[in-house]
Protein backbone atom coordinates (compact mmCIF):
# COMPACT_ATOMS: atom_id res chain seq x y z
CA UNK A 1 0.00 0.00 0.00
CA UNK A 2 1.42 3.40 -0.92
CA UNK A 3 1.36 6.23 1.56
CA UNK A 4 -1.46 8.09 -0.14
CA UNK A 5 -3.74 5.10 -0.45
CA UNK A 6 -3.06 4.35 3.20
CA UNK A 7 -4.11 7.86 4.11
CA UNK A 8 -7.28 7.53 2.10
CA UNK A 9 -7.94 4.25 3.86
CA UNK A 10 -7.40 5.87 7.26
CA UNK A 11 -9.74 8.69 6.35
CA UNK A 12 -12.30 6.13 5.35
CA UNK A 13 -12.14 4.52 8.78
CA UNK A 14 -12.34 7.92 10.41
CA UNK A 15 -15.65 8.64 8.67
CA UNK A 16 -16.98 5.24 9.65
CA UNK A 17 -15.96 5.90 13.22
CA UNK A 18 -17.69 9.27 13.32
CA UNK A 19 -20.96 7.83 12.12
CA UNK A 20 -20.61 5.14 14.73
CA UNK A 21 -19.75 7.63 17.44
CA UNK A 22 -23.27 8.66 18.55
CA UNK A 23 -24.00 5.16 19.77
CA UNK A 24 -20.81 5.03 21.82
CA UNK A 25 -20.58 4.65 25.54
CA UNK A 26 -17.36 6.23 26.60
CA UNK A 27 -16.40 3.62 29.16
CA UNK A 28 -12.95 2.36 28.37
CA UNK A 29 -13.40 -1.23 29.44
CA UNK A 30 -11.96 -3.99 27.33
CA UNK A 31 -14.18 -6.33 25.42
CA UNK A 32 -15.63 -9.34 27.23
CA UNK A 33 -13.37 -11.92 28.76
CA UNK A 34 -12.09 -14.35 26.17
CA UNK A 35 -13.73 -17.74 26.73
CA UNK A 36 -11.56 -20.34 28.45
CA UNK A 37 -9.51 -22.36 25.99
CA UNK A 38 -9.61 -19.74 23.23
CA UNK A 39 -6.37 -18.22 21.95
CA UNK A 40 -5.69 -14.51 21.51
CA UNK A 41 -6.81 -13.34 18.08
CA UNK A 42 -5.24 -11.03 15.49
CA UNK A 43 -8.69 -9.43 15.11
CA UNK A 44 -7.75 -7.35 18.13
CA UNK A 45 -4.91 -4.95 18.58
CA UNK A 46 -4.77 -3.70 22.12
CA UNK A 47 -3.41 -0.23 22.69
CA UNK A 48 -3.26 2.76 24.99
CA UNK A 49 -3.95 6.43 24.42
CA UNK A 50 -2.36 8.78 26.94
CA UNK A 51 -3.37 12.44 27.12
CA UNK A 52 -0.35 14.12 28.71
CA UNK A 53 -2.32 17.31 29.37
CA UNK A 54 -4.12 15.29 32.06
CA UNK A 55 -0.94 13.76 33.45
CA UNK A 56 0.53 15.87 36.28
CA UNK A 57 4.25 15.32 36.85
CA UNK A 58 3.75 14.45 40.52
CA UNK A 59 1.05 11.79 39.94
CA UNK A 60 2.34 8.21 40.10
CA UNK A 61 -0.99 6.34 40.26
CA UNK A 62 -0.14 4.24 37.19
CA UNK A 63 3.31 3.28 38.48
CA UNK A 64 2.09 2.45 42.00
CA UNK A 65 -0.75 0.27 40.77
CA UNK A 66 1.57 -1.47 38.29
CA UNK A 67 4.01 -2.38 41.06
CA UNK A 68 1.17 -3.68 43.21
CA UNK A 69 -0.52 -5.65 40.41
CA UNK A 70 2.69 -7.22 39.13
CA UNK A 71 4.39 -7.66 42.51
CA UNK A 72 7.46 -5.53 41.79
CA UNK A 73 9.37 -4.87 45.00
CA UNK A 74 11.41 -1.78 45.72
CA UNK A 75 15.01 -2.60 46.55
CA UNK A 76 15.83 1.10 46.76
CA UNK A 77 18.07 0.85 43.69
CA UNK A 78 16.19 2.79 41.03
CA UNK A 79 18.88 2.15 38.40
CA UNK A 80 18.34 -1.61 38.45
CA UNK A 81 14.95 -2.20 40.14
CA UNK A 82 12.35 -3.63 37.78
CA UNK A 83 10.06 -0.97 36.38
CA UNK A 84 7.36 -1.58 33.82
CA UNK A 85 6.32 2.10 33.67
CA UNK A 86 8.35 5.20 34.32
CA UNK A 87 7.45 8.87 34.16
CA UNK A 88 9.60 10.78 31.69
CA UNK A 89 9.69 14.57 31.71
CA UNK A 90 10.36 16.27 28.41
CA UNK A 91 10.95 19.96 27.83
CA UNK A 92 10.68 21.95 24.64
CA UNK A 93 13.87 24.03 24.76
CA UNK A 94 12.35 26.73 22.57
CA UNK A 95 9.22 27.39 24.60
CA UNK A 96 10.16 25.90 27.96
CA UNK A 97 6.95 23.85 27.97
CA UNK A 98 7.37 20.64 29.99
CA UNK A 99 5.23 17.55 29.84
CA UNK A 100 5.37 14.39 31.89
CA UNK A 101 4.54 11.15 30.17
CA UNK A 102 4.30 7.60 31.43
CA UNK A 103 6.43 5.34 29.24
CA UNK A 104 5.93 1.59 29.23
CA UNK A 105 6.41 -1.15 26.63
CA UNK A 106 4.93 0.40 23.50
CA UNK A 107 3.73 -2.99 22.19
CA UNK A 108 5.13 -2.32 18.73
CA UNK A 109 3.72 -4.07 15.68
CA UNK A 110 7.32 -4.46 14.50
CA UNK A 111 9.13 -4.93 17.79
CA UNK A 112 12.91 -4.55 17.72
CA UNK A 113 13.16 -6.76 20.84
CA UNK A 114 11.60 -9.67 18.95
CA UNK A 115 13.94 -9.21 15.99
CA UNK A 116 17.09 -9.46 18.08
CA UNK A 117 16.07 -12.23 20.50
CA UNK A 118 18.28 -15.29 19.91
CA UNK A 119 15.89 -17.80 21.55
CA UNK A 120 12.43 -16.66 20.54
CA UNK A 121 11.63 -15.62 24.09
CA UNK A 122 10.79 -12.09 23.02
CA UNK A 123 7.51 -12.51 21.23
CA UNK A 124 4.40 -10.78 20.02
CA UNK A 125 1.06 -12.36 20.79
CA UNK A 126 -1.58 -12.53 18.05
CA UNK A 127 -3.42 -9.57 19.58
CA UNK A 128 -0.31 -7.40 19.46
CA UNK A 129 0.81 -7.73 23.08
CA UNK A 130 4.61 -8.00 23.23
CA UNK A 131 5.88 -10.35 25.94
CA UNK A 132 8.98 -12.10 27.23
CA UNK A 133 8.44 -15.85 27.41
CA UNK A 134 10.50 -16.18 30.56
CA UNK A 135 10.50 -19.95 30.17
CA UNK A 136 12.98 -19.62 27.32
CA UNK A 137 14.64 -16.30 28.15
CA UNK A 138 18.35 -16.80 28.75
CA UNK A 139 18.88 -13.31 30.15
CA UNK A 140 21.19 -12.10 27.37
CA UNK A 141 19.58 -8.63 27.40
CA UNK A 142 19.87 -8.03 23.65
CA UNK A 143 16.23 -6.91 23.75
CA UNK A 144 17.02 -4.31 26.37
CA UNK A 145 19.68 -2.86 24.12
CA UNK A 146 17.43 -2.96 21.05
CA UNK A 147 14.40 -1.32 22.68
CA UNK A 148 14.40 2.42 21.94
CA UNK A 149 11.91 2.97 24.79
CA UNK A 150 14.05 1.42 27.55
CA UNK A 151 10.96 -0.56 28.45
CA UNK A 152 12.51 -3.72 29.84
CA UNK A 153 14.26 -4.62 33.09
CA UNK A 154 16.65 -7.40 34.01
CA UNK A 155 16.15 -9.18 37.31
CA UNK A 156 19.36 -9.30 39.29
CA UNK A 157 18.29 -11.08 42.44
CA UNK A 158 16.20 -14.00 43.66
CA UNK A 159 12.57 -13.05 44.09
CA UNK A 160 10.03 -14.04 46.72
CA UNK A 161 6.33 -13.39 47.20
CA UNK A 162 5.53 -13.17 43.48
CA UNK A 163 1.98 -12.55 42.31
CA UNK A 164 0.24 -15.48 40.66
CA UNK A 165 -0.43 -13.35 37.61
CA UNK A 166 3.22 -12.44 37.20
CA UNK A 167 5.70 -15.23 37.90
CA UNK A 168 9.14 -13.64 37.90
CA UNK A 169 12.65 -14.59 38.93
CA UNK A 170 16.35 -13.94 38.74
CA UNK A 171 18.18 -14.00 35.43
CA UNK A 172 15.34 -13.08 33.08
CA UNK A 173 14.27 -9.92 31.33
CA UNK A 174 10.77 -8.65 31.89
CA UNK A 175 8.57 -5.72 31.07
CA UNK A 176 5.02 -4.42 30.79
CA UNK A 177 2.66 -7.17 29.63
CA UNK A 178 -0.18 -4.70 29.03
CA UNK A 179 -1.64 -6.73 31.91
CA UNK A 180 -2.29 -9.63 29.51
CA UNK A 181 -3.81 -11.59 32.40
CA UNK A 182 -6.37 -8.85 33.02
CA UNK A 183 -7.02 -8.15 29.34
CA UNK A 184 -7.71 -11.86 28.82
CA UNK A 185 -10.21 -11.63 31.67
CA UNK A 186 -11.97 -8.68 30.02
CA UNK A 187 -10.48 -6.05 32.31
CA UNK A 188 -8.33 -3.04 31.49
CA UNK A 189 -4.68 -2.82 32.58
CA UNK A 190 -4.07 -1.87 36.22
CA UNK A 191 -2.36 1.43 35.26
CA UNK A 192 -5.32 2.58 33.21
CA UNK A 193 -7.80 1.68 35.93
CA UNK A 194 -5.72 3.54 38.53
CA UNK A 195 -5.38 6.56 36.24
CA UNK A 196 -9.13 6.70 35.78
CA UNK A 197 -9.94 6.12 39.46
CA UNK A 198 -7.16 7.94 41.25
CA UNK A 199 -5.45 10.02 38.58
CA UNK A 200 -6.94 12.48 36.12
CA UNK A 201 -8.15 10.00 33.55
CA UNK A 202 -5.29 10.53 31.13
CA UNK A 203 -5.16 6.90 29.98
CA UNK A 204 -7.58 5.02 27.77
CA UNK A 205 -7.21 1.34 26.91
CA UNK A 206 -8.90 -0.44 24.06
CA UNK A 207 -8.89 -2.29 20.78
CA UNK A 208 -7.36 -0.18 18.01
CA UNK A 209 -8.88 -2.54 15.45
CA UNK A 210 -12.45 -2.00 16.66
CA UNK A 211 -13.67 1.18 14.93
CA UNK A 212 -16.39 1.61 17.55
CA UNK A 213 -14.02 1.63 20.52
CA UNK A 214 -13.27 4.93 22.23
CA UNK A 215 -9.55 4.57 21.54
CA UNK A 216 -10.02 3.94 17.82
CA UNK A 217 -12.48 6.81 17.46
CA UNK A 218 -10.14 9.22 19.20
CA UNK A 219 -7.09 8.04 17.28
CA UNK A 220 -9.03 8.54 14.05
CA UNK A 221 -10.41 11.98 14.92
CA UNK A 222 -7.90 13.64 17.25
CA UNK A 223 -4.22 14.47 16.92
CA UNK A 224 -2.11 11.74 18.48
CA UNK A 225 1.64 11.12 18.45
CA UNK A 226 3.79 8.08 18.83
CA UNK A 227 7.16 8.58 20.44
CA UNK A 228 10.10 7.88 18.14
CA UNK A 229 7.64 7.40 15.31
CA UNK A 230 10.63 7.88 12.98
CA UNK A 231 11.77 4.36 13.83
CA UNK A 232 8.59 2.99 12.21
CA UNK A 233 8.10 0.27 14.81
CA UNK A 234 4.37 1.02 14.79
CA UNK A 235 3.76 1.23 18.57
CA UNK A 236 0.30 0.59 20.03
CA UNK A 237 0.74 3.34 22.61
CA UNK A 238 -0.17 6.84 21.49
CA UNK A 239 0.22 10.17 23.23
CA UNK A 240 -1.51 13.51 23.09
CA UNK A 241 -0.20 16.92 24.10
CA UNK A 242 3.46 16.38 23.27
Amino acid sequence: MTDTSRRAFLQGTAVAAVTLAPGLTLIATAADARPAGEAASPKQRWGLLIDTTKCPAECTACIDSCKEEMGLPDHGRPATDAQYIRKVSVKDPASGKTVSLPVMCQHCAKPACVDVCPTGASMKRADGIVLVDRHICIGCRFCMMACPYKARSFIHEDQTGQKIANPRGKGCVEGCTLCAHRVDAGEMPACTEACQNRGKGAMVFGDLNDPASEIAVRVATEATTRIRADLKLDPAVRYQGI
Partner: protein, 131 residues
Protein backbone atom coordinates in the same frame (compact mmCIF):
# COMPACT_ATOMS: atom_id res chain seq x y z
CA UNK B 1 34.49 -64.27 50.61
CA UNK B 2 32.91 -64.07 54.04
CA UNK B 3 34.23 -60.62 54.48
CA UNK B 4 32.64 -59.52 51.18
CA UNK B 5 29.30 -61.04 52.22
CA UNK B 6 29.50 -59.16 55.50
CA UNK B 7 30.23 -55.93 53.70
CA UNK B 8 27.25 -56.39 51.39
CA UNK B 9 24.91 -57.16 54.29
CA UNK B 10 26.29 -54.22 56.20
CA UNK B 11 25.65 -51.95 53.24
CA UNK B 12 22.08 -53.14 52.81
CA UNK B 13 21.34 -52.63 56.51
CA UNK B 14 22.86 -49.18 56.43
CA UNK B 15 21.01 -48.17 53.28
CA UNK B 16 17.70 -49.37 54.73
CA UNK B 17 18.36 -47.41 57.90
CA UNK B 18 19.14 -44.26 55.94
CA UNK B 19 16.10 -44.65 53.71
CA UNK B 20 13.83 -45.34 56.69
CA UNK B 21 15.06 -42.24 58.47
CA UNK B 22 14.49 -40.16 55.35
CA UNK B 23 11.03 -38.62 55.32
CA UNK B 24 7.69 -40.31 55.61
CA UNK B 25 7.04 -43.31 53.38
CA UNK B 26 3.82 -44.91 52.29
CA UNK B 27 3.62 -48.66 53.01
CA UNK B 28 4.80 -49.57 49.51
CA UNK B 29 8.01 -47.51 49.74
CA UNK B 30 6.74 -44.46 47.88
CA UNK B 31 6.76 -41.13 49.71
CA UNK B 32 3.56 -40.26 51.58
CA UNK B 33 2.01 -37.28 49.84
CA UNK B 34 -0.20 -34.73 51.58
CA UNK B 35 -3.91 -35.05 50.76
CA UNK B 36 -4.99 -32.77 47.90
CA UNK B 37 -8.15 -30.67 47.89
CA UNK B 38 -10.98 -32.19 45.88
CA UNK B 39 -11.36 -35.89 45.13
CA UNK B 40 -9.85 -36.28 41.68
CA UNK B 41 -6.92 -34.74 39.84
CA UNK B 42 -7.15 -32.99 36.48
CA UNK B 43 -6.29 -36.30 34.80
CA UNK B 44 -6.27 -39.90 35.91
CA UNK B 45 -3.84 -40.38 38.82
CA UNK B 46 -1.65 -42.77 36.80
CA UNK B 47 -1.50 -40.30 33.92
CA UNK B 48 -0.58 -37.52 36.33
CA UNK B 49 2.21 -39.54 37.91
CA UNK B 50 3.79 -40.25 34.55
CA UNK B 51 2.96 -37.22 32.42
CA UNK B 52 2.40 -34.14 34.55
CA UNK B 53 5.63 -32.55 33.31
CA UNK B 54 4.55 -32.79 29.67
CA UNK B 55 1.07 -31.51 30.42
CA UNK B 56 2.57 -28.54 32.23
CA UNK B 57 4.91 -27.70 29.40
CA UNK B 58 2.06 -27.72 26.88
CA UNK B 59 -0.07 -25.57 29.12
CA UNK B 60 2.75 -23.14 29.64
CA UNK B 61 3.16 -22.56 25.89
CA UNK B 62 -0.57 -22.38 25.26
CA UNK B 63 -1.12 -19.84 27.99
CA UNK B 64 1.88 -17.62 27.57
CA UNK B 65 2.38 -17.68 23.82
CA UNK B 66 -1.17 -18.26 22.58
CA UNK B 67 -2.99 -16.47 25.40
CA UNK B 68 -5.21 -19.48 26.22
CA UNK B 69 -6.66 -19.03 29.71
CA UNK B 70 -8.57 -21.36 31.99
CA UNK B 71 -6.48 -24.35 30.86
CA UNK B 72 -6.97 -27.67 32.57
CA UNK B 73 -3.27 -28.15 33.29
CA UNK B 74 -2.55 -24.75 34.79
CA UNK B 75 0.34 -24.62 37.24
CA UNK B 76 -1.50 -22.09 39.40
CA UNK B 77 -4.32 -24.65 39.66
CA UNK B 78 -1.94 -27.47 40.68
CA UNK B 79 -0.82 -25.23 43.53
CA UNK B 80 -4.34 -24.30 44.57
CA UNK B 81 -5.30 -27.97 45.01
CA UNK B 82 -2.01 -29.42 46.18
CA UNK B 83 -0.91 -26.81 48.74
CA UNK B 84 -1.94 -27.69 52.28
CA UNK B 85 -2.79 -25.40 55.18
CA UNK B 86 -0.34 -25.20 58.05
CA UNK B 87 -1.17 -25.24 61.77
CA UNK B 88 -1.53 -21.44 61.66
CA UNK B 89 -4.17 -21.75 58.93
CA UNK B 90 -1.82 -20.19 56.36
CA UNK B 91 -1.04 -22.17 53.20
CA UNK B 92 2.30 -24.01 53.18
CA UNK B 93 4.41 -23.60 50.01
CA UNK B 94 4.27 -26.68 47.75
CA UNK B 95 8.06 -26.53 47.67
CA UNK B 96 8.46 -26.88 51.45
CA UNK B 97 9.87 -30.06 52.99
CA UNK B 98 7.31 -32.89 52.93
CA UNK B 99 4.89 -30.99 50.72
CA UNK B 100 3.30 -32.42 47.61
CA UNK B 101 5.63 -31.47 44.77
CA UNK B 102 8.74 -31.41 46.95
CA UNK B 103 8.44 -34.80 48.62
CA UNK B 104 7.98 -36.74 45.43
CA UNK B 105 10.67 -34.84 43.55
CA UNK B 106 13.16 -35.28 46.33
CA UNK B 107 12.36 -39.02 46.37
CA UNK B 108 12.84 -39.21 42.59
CA UNK B 109 15.85 -36.86 42.60
CA UNK B 110 14.16 -34.31 40.35
CA UNK B 111 14.79 -30.62 40.72
CA UNK B 112 12.54 -28.05 39.10
CA UNK B 113 13.05 -24.30 38.79
CA UNK B 114 9.40 -23.41 38.21
CA UNK B 115 8.91 -22.06 41.70
CA UNK B 116 11.76 -19.60 41.51
CA UNK B 117 9.18 -17.56 39.58
CA UNK B 118 5.77 -19.12 40.16
CA UNK B 119 3.85 -18.55 43.38
CA UNK B 120 4.06 -21.54 45.74
CA UNK B 121 0.82 -20.83 47.60
CA UNK B 122 -2.71 -20.44 46.26
CA UNK B 123 -4.32 -17.09 45.49
CA UNK B 124 -5.29 -14.98 48.43
CA UNK B 125 -9.09 -14.73 48.11
CA UNK B 126 -9.01 -11.07 49.12
CA UNK B 127 -7.48 -9.14 46.26
CA UNK B 128 -5.49 -6.41 47.93
CA UNK B 129 -4.55 -4.18 45.01
CA UNK B 130 -4.50 -0.47 45.82
CA UNK B 131 -6.49 0.81 42.92
Amino acid sequence: MNRLRLAVIGFVVLATAILAGHGAMAGDGRPALPQAKGSVCVEDTQVMRRNHMDLLKHQRNDTLRQGVRGGKHSLAECVSCHATDGADGKPVPVTAEGQFCQSCHSFAAVSIDCFSCHATVPADPARTAIR
